[in-house]
């Protein structure tokens, strides 16, 4: 399998805090890679650098052979990388379906259209996507009144709308009940296998991580302290030390 995402020597500091310290790893195409680590380890920072929201101080990011180190979020998205955020971001004054329609309008470069009736554009395709993530019944509801778990699904549908080749999710199941979490991750991984999509995600729920990742990468204080198969990581002494220090592997946090 070829390398889809290649991260080399990424560094990022916020004042005195080193949020990312020489982070390097590869993600092969169609691989499902989980990044774990205690709070403040630098997971979100890493994701934001890949997604283009943050510019690394040093290092290089390549996606499908292209250098995207300095690309902004828009360019990263266009190159085929979809993204959901730790703090869910949807468009609160739109209906669930419209949220996805907007992504489709952007994909089809219709953002400057002053004439068409936006409500009707890509309606069926959007409906199919929200059906797929299990919120098809809420199509006409305002995102502003949705429960947190459902918002996570909306965001997922938005990210999937562009048919990305790599999906990057920062704590996709935070705020959901355990059964719901598993169901959602099952759904996403199944979809990804079917479409040949890679996944890069973080989670605090270790059951989810070990149940859905092909490979796990452990961050602590900005450094990669371990990486490998789920079983190997689970057995790693350093990892256990980190997690015992912060309350054990089952640390759950919203």
């Amino acid at each position: 399998m070829s390398v889809q995402l290649s991260v080399q020597g990424l560094c990022k500091r916020f004042g005195g805090v080193v949020a990312s310290d020489d982070v390097s790893f590869d993600l092969k195409s169609e691989e499902h890679l989980a990044v774990i680590g205690p709070n403040g380890a630098g997971k979100s920072t890493l994701f934001k650098m890949i997604g283009g929201q943050l510019r690394p101080d040093a290092g290089q990011i390549r996606f499908d052979g292209h250098d995207i180190t300095k690309a902004g979020p828009r360019a990263v998205w266009r190159s085929g990388l979809g993204q959901t955020f730790q703090i869910t971001a949807t468009f609160s004054s739109f209906t669930v379906r419209e949220n996805v329609q907007i992504a489709l309008m952007s994909l089809n470069r219709q953002t400057r259209n002053l004439w068409a009736a936006a409500h009707e554009l890509h309606r069926d395709e959007a409906q199919a996507l929200i059906d797929a993530v299990g919120i098809g019944d809420f199509a006409e509801r305002s995102c502003g009144v949705l429960a947190y778990g459902d918002l996570k699904r909306v965001e997922l549908a938005i990210a999937l709308a562009s048919r990305p080749r790599l999906l990057m999710m920062d704590e996709p199941t935070a705020g959901m009940a355990p059964a719901e979490r598993r169901a959602l991750m099952d759904l996403v991984t199944k979809m990804a296998r079917r479409e040949g999509m890679g996944i890069l995600f973080t989670e605090h729920d270790m059951d989810i991580v070990f149940g859905h990742a092909d490979r796990v990468l452990v961050l602590d204080q900005g450094c990669i302290v371990a990486q490998g198969s789920p079983d190997a990581v689970r057995a790693d002494a350093k990892v256990q030390e980190i997690y015992l220090g912060t309350g054990g592997m089952a640390d759950e946090r919203v």
Partner: protein, 620 residues
């Protein structure tokens, strides 16, 4: 320029810089902690002067001149500080969590009220205060006379800066103020102390403004224009220095003070332009000001909403058609003056709608929207008066000129957000105002342009009514259409979640820039129609009060409604028409009305109506 004169002019600059700094630093401190841009700061300053000219002479007579004078100054500052506390407790406390724009408007309401109250209490005539005992003379500096009081002022600025520095370093209150200024979240974590802190800050800020006003009395009679004159300059200083930064305000005051002292030698007629030009240049190069902290990009605009725009059902379309038909029949039932009112209502409806494209859809706070209305009005007026162009040509030029101007300014503004953006729109509007005001050769200065009447075929009021109905009405519905088009969706998406929007390929800044241009064009068309309905045009159409009027109309209608601003414009304009002839206290009414609106129904008339009539969104 000989050396002695240079030194003297430098000292003059220092003295005005000191006054400016004392006046502006309170504004900066208040903003730093409460995040409220307090327009009423100018009112505090004016009240300081009025209290001082009232108290100082009486105290000078009853105690002794020296103690009486300085006692009067200090007492005035304290009283104003207490008024600041009063405002905090009665008003600000209720609006800390409403969008910035409502805060700006509410404090502007206070400005209007104080203006009328001052006339009611102290009468309309200026009041000249006493001069400072012991500082009445002049000292010789390099063979030139320099007033002792000015020398005192030169020292007073740095002294106050030092005092504030000590206060911020050595007292618990000061430490809290600094912490709150550095970190917004912190103030929320303060809990019960927060109220005390905010009240204390208002006392400090207001009493500094009062002190600045009181210190003015040996130089300037207390008068009813002090508030507006000062607030514009204080904004310039605060923004250039970096909002919330006291040392920044000091630097900026120095810059403006010296710029004006030497500027009058080079550009005797363009002093107004200089300050705003300096502000625009600084903001473009460093949006956060000289010593300010960059604005933290908030996750979403404060105007984000949770009410979707539903497509209109057929019955609603029919209802609107009916309403338009009824309106179009007006010429058959009413007299010509009423038609004129109706024309003005349509013009302001379009103006308000154009602003709502920015605020309601884009979440972009524009505090200088009068600029585009004015550019359109002037473009039409200049063509009609100077080159006698046909009216339709002039009307076509209005939106074009305004669109170009808005696109130029928008290119600098669109990437900013929040208060900085609002301040830059204000600066741009003031700059354009100053140009219209001071380029007398072209624009006629404050005389304006006279004689821009419609062509013969449209002279009849009825014809002009239908022309306005067609153009303004058409533009209003075009703006409405845009709200439902992909561009309108994209604009709103950028408002609700800029980070999310960027992550699906939407260029939020570019969308805002396009919106800025479209809004500018629509406002420009409104301005052009306005010119021909009045026959004349002058710089007041570009001034801050015009921007405030249109904001009030937009908010009164409701920012999250598509056509609400149309009703807001109608309501406010008609109210003004009926109230102005019967009362001398229109500003009191308008100011009180604005505050009541912000407090009671920020969702606006139509928003309120919708929440009554439409079923609420059910929550799962």
């Amino acid at each position: 320029m000989d050396f002695a004169f240079f030194i003297l002019q430098f000292l003059n600059g220092l003295a005005s810089a000191s006054s400016l700094f004392i006046a502006a630093c309170g504004l900066s401190i208040i903003f730093g902690v409460t995040r409220i841009v307090n327009f009423a700061h100018g009112s505090f300053y004016m009240l300081g002067a009025y209290f001082a000219v009232t108290l100082a002479p009486r105290l000078m007579e009853s105690i002794n001149p020296f103690l009486g004078f300085w006692g009067g100054i200090l007492a005035a500052a304290m009283i104003v500080g207490l008024l600041g506390v009063l405002m905090e407790m009665l008003l600000l406390r209720r609006i800390y969590h409403v969008p910035e724009l409502f805060q700006l408007l509410a404090t502007f309401g206070v400005v209007l009220i104080v203006q009328d109250l001052v006339v009611l209490i102290w009468g309309p005539e200026d009041i000249l205060g006493p001069r400072a005992p012991g500082l009445k003379g002049a000292v010789n500096i390099l063979d030139q006379r320099f007033p002792e009081y000015e020398l005192f002022l030169v020292a007073a600025g740095p002294l106050i800066l030092g005092a504030i520095w000590l206060l911020f370093r050595k007292t618990r209150f000061g430490v809290l103020v600094r912490a709150a200024t550095e970190d917004r979240e912190m103030t929320d974590a303060l809990g019960i102390n927060q109220k005390l802190l905010f009240t204390g800050v208002l006392f400090l800020g207001a009493s500094l403004a009062g002190l600045a006003g009181a210190l003015q009395i040996p130089k300037e009679p207390a008068n009813g224009f002090m508030d507006i004159n000062m607030i514009a300059e204080a904004f310039v200083v605060t923004v250039i220095g970096g909002m919330g930064s006291v040392p920044g305000a000091f630097l900026a005051a120095l810059l403006i003070g010296e710029l004006q002292a030497f500027g009058i030698l080079l550009f005797a007629k363009s002093t107004l332009v200089l300050a705003f030009l300096a502000m625009a240049v600084v903001l473009i190069l460093r949006p956060q000001g000289l010593l300010g902290k960059p604005a933290v990009n908030t996750e979403h605009s404060e105007f984000a909403s949770s009410i979707p725009l539903r497509p209109w059902p057929r019955w609603l379309v029919l209802a609107w058609l009916g309403a338009i038909v009824v309106f179009a029949c007006l010429p058959f039932v009413v007299d010509s003056f009423t038609l004129k009112l109706a024309i003005e209502v349509m013009v302001f409806a379009l103006f308000a709608m154009s602003l709502n494209l920015l605020i309601g859809l884009g979440g972009v706070i524009s505090f200088g929207h009068a600029a585009w209305f004015g550019v359109g009005a002037y473009a039409a007026g200049l063509l009609a008066v100077h080159s006698h162009s046909p009216m339709l040509l002039a009307l076509a030029a209005a939106p074009l000129a305004a669109g170009v101007a808005a696109a130029l300014v928008g290119a600098f503004i669109a990437r900013l957000s929040g208060v900085y953006l609002a301040m830059l729109t204000l600066a741009a509007a003031q700059l354009i105002y100053a140009i219209a005001f001071q380029w007398t050769g072209l624009t006629g200065g404050d005389d304006g342009l006279v004689g821009a009447w419609p062509d013969a075929w449209a002279k009849s009021r009825v014809v002009y009514f239908y022309l306005t109905l067609a153009l303004a009405g058409g533009a209003v519905f075009a703006l409405r259409h845009i709200a439902y088009a992909p561009f309108g969706y994209v604009l709103r998406a950028g408002r609700d979640g800029p980070a999310r929007a960027e992550a699906i390929g939407i260029n939020v800044a570019a969308a805002r820039w396009v919106a800025f241009t479209i809004a500018g064009m629509a406002a420009g068309l409104a301005g052009g129609l306005y010119t021909f309905s009045k026959g004349s045009i002058d710089p007041t159409v570009l001034s801050i009060p015009t921007s405030v009027d249109v904001l009030a109309m937009t908010l009164l209608g409701g920012v999250h409604t598509v056509l609400g601003p149309v009703f807001g414009a109608a309501a406010l304009h008609l109210l003004q028409d009926f109230a102005m002839p019967i009362t001398d206290h229109w500003r009191l009414i308008l100011g009180g009305g604005i505050i009541a609106m912000v407090l009671a129904f920020p969702e606006g008339l139509v928003g309120k109506l919708r929440s009554w009539f439409m079923p609420a969104e059910e929550t799962p």
